[in-house]
Symmetry: C2
Subunit: 354 residues, 2 copies
């Protein structure tokens, strides 16, 4: 099928065309850039909601309940699951499976798993691009579910407009063991399984940390990017430093839920609504979306540079020739890298592609 | 202190100088490239051992026991913990703390936590560089501990010469939920807490998966890189494709351990010894180390490109000017990226730095 025909079917709202376009974009098959460029002007309408937390916190159950809630309001929902333990991606628990299937069979819901995508640093970029496709298709809400453990996964959570961190009493002892930065990415906290022992203590711990965050540790950093810049590598630091500083006075609420009993979902939706209203009125939404555009361009630039360098057979052959001397210690990775770059200006700038 | 003086102290084996050099390298402070280049010829002697697995599998306990075992053999040990839940990085359980402190107080052991390092894709690169520093300092064994959950963390495991995957019966039901690729990275499997119910079943499951791996799924891919190239992004794919194909007939053993009773450690050490002997005799060690050199050069190249682009105020200002039209949909991330690259050839090649 030609890409014109495919995009016609996509425009006509055909689910098969959507699935095909998502696959092309996710796997960077031929023509994905042209497709994304065509769809680009139609993005920006969907509200992007992130759901993160440790394995077993009930993220998928809450995601399914949110999807159902939005459907009941007449809204369409796209789900992007970036979690290898998610029931959406095959790790279904028996009790949850029926509920998931109900959601999955609804034609107003599109579910995409990106669990197995393997690429260093590419997970967040790929999530942004797939989210753009779903946005352009016309979904009203995008739910991006990711496990809050690894660094790449945390970067995925940052791609949303608004993010909820789901915790459970079992994780109470280990809030401090969550990946540094996962607390700061959250706009809303949810204590799930709130009917279990330890829920009150967890809530206290979270509120204590939020107090610390507001009062001391993160006073001067924007809530969405409260990361320790000094500990980051220069490239990333430069990207972060280039980001818009958008101070916020939003105080993240700490909600309770018992997802298995469907309790607390309406309150969570209301909190997202309040947060979106805040994002819009304060100008933070615009700042976050501009930042996302900046990240999109930077992603593409870095990917193109990698492609142009590491798909060029002459460059690879030259690098291969240098490796024995690097191994022998007569040259260093830095020397070879500098030499490689000094002779690759035209390659990187794309002169060779014209 | 001048960097010459610092390196003198480093050469003299002073622990304070080592700690300082590691900090400079880890945080990419001024002069880190010069230091790494100076140390580069002295690397390649240490055996690099990776320990990975899900949270709670007992990785840190086994790491501490391995360190003690090597010390008893008269060897020195460097530990790099890239695990936010590791006792080495502050998440100590009461029962383990004493043992960890015994190890930590031994002057023949150096422990470094990289738990909080935040940088997209930078974790594996940073681990390689810190490992090089410890290698150059003269440690005989490097133990690299990382949680086997996130994508970046999995890439860290790939930086070792030889990697053990630690599993526990509790994770038996969820082998298939481990991050795709984590099974393939393992040279040795350890069923820890082997005295618990479910240990036999876990062992069976692992052996079943290993059978599948040998027989069907991964027959044509090198064990160290049994990843699905088709699902990866083009940049990474190009890097992987450029890697030496080193077929191996090593059959990963499935060992049992009860780390809290110090059982199974001697067997694990023996398995690492056998694996190293195999790596050397088959030429695989040389291939893996050459691949690590290639990755080191590629890391530096990509980091330099990012630095040169995103630390250049003119480039950033130009990018900032383009964002409104990207937001408005009159231009696309791809168009802007191409334009940015076409005007950045000299910047990337480093002409501006001369």
């Amino acid at each position: 099928m030609s890409s014109e025909r495919l995009l016609e079917d996509f425009d006509a709202g055909k689910p098969a065309a959507l699935a095909r376009v998502v696959s092309i974009v996710e796997n960077h098959r031929d023509g994905f850039e042209k497709i994304l460029s065509t769809l680009h002007p139609r993005t920006g309408r969907a509200k992007r909601i992130g759901l993160t937390g440790p394995p077993g916190a009930g993220k998928s159950t809450i995601t399914a309940l949110l999807a159902k809630h939005f459907r009941d309001e007449g809204l369409t929902v796209g789900v992007i699951a970036v979690d290898p333990t998610s029931p959406f991606t095959g790790g279904a628990l028996l009790g949850d499976r029926v509920r998931m299937e109900n959601v999955a069979l609804d034609p107003g819901v599109f579910i995409r798993s990106m669990a197995t995508r393997g690429s260093l640093g590419g997970l967040a970029a790929a999530t942004r691009e797939v989210a753009d496709v779903l946005d352009a298709f016309g979904f009203d809400r995008l739910l991006i579910e990711t496990v809050g453990v690894g660094q790449s996964e945390l970067d995925v959570a940052r791609t949303a407009d608004s993010t909820a961190l789901i915790l459970v009493p079992e994780s109470g002892d280990s809030i401090q063991t969550l990946k540094a930065g996962v607390m700061e990415v959250a706009d809303i906290f949810v204590v799930n399984k709130a009917d279990r022992p330890g829920a009150d203590r967890l809530r206290n711990d979270v509120e204590l940390m939020l107090g610390l965050r507001k009062g001391v540790s993160f006073g001067n950093t924007p809530a969405h990017h409260g990361v320790d810049l000094k500990r980051m590598n220069p490239a990333r630091t430069a990207r972060e430093a280039a980001a818009v500083q958008n101070p916020t006075t939003w105080t993240p609420p700490v909600l309770s839920a018992v997802a298995t009993k469907q309790e607390g979902i309406a309150e969570l939706v209301a909190a997202f609504d309040r947060h979106f209203a805040y994002l819009e009125s304060s100008g933070t939404l615009h700042a976050r979306r501009r930042e996302r555009m900046r990240e999109r361009v930077m992603d593409v630039v870095e990917r193109k540079v990698s492609d142009r360098l590491w798909k060029d057979s002459k460059t690879l052959a030259w690098l291969e020739q240098q490796l024995p001397s690097v191994e022998a210690g007569t040259s260093t990775p830095f020397g070879v890298a500098n030499q490689l770059l000094s002779q690759s200006g035209e390659l990187v700038s794309g002169e060779h592609e014209r």
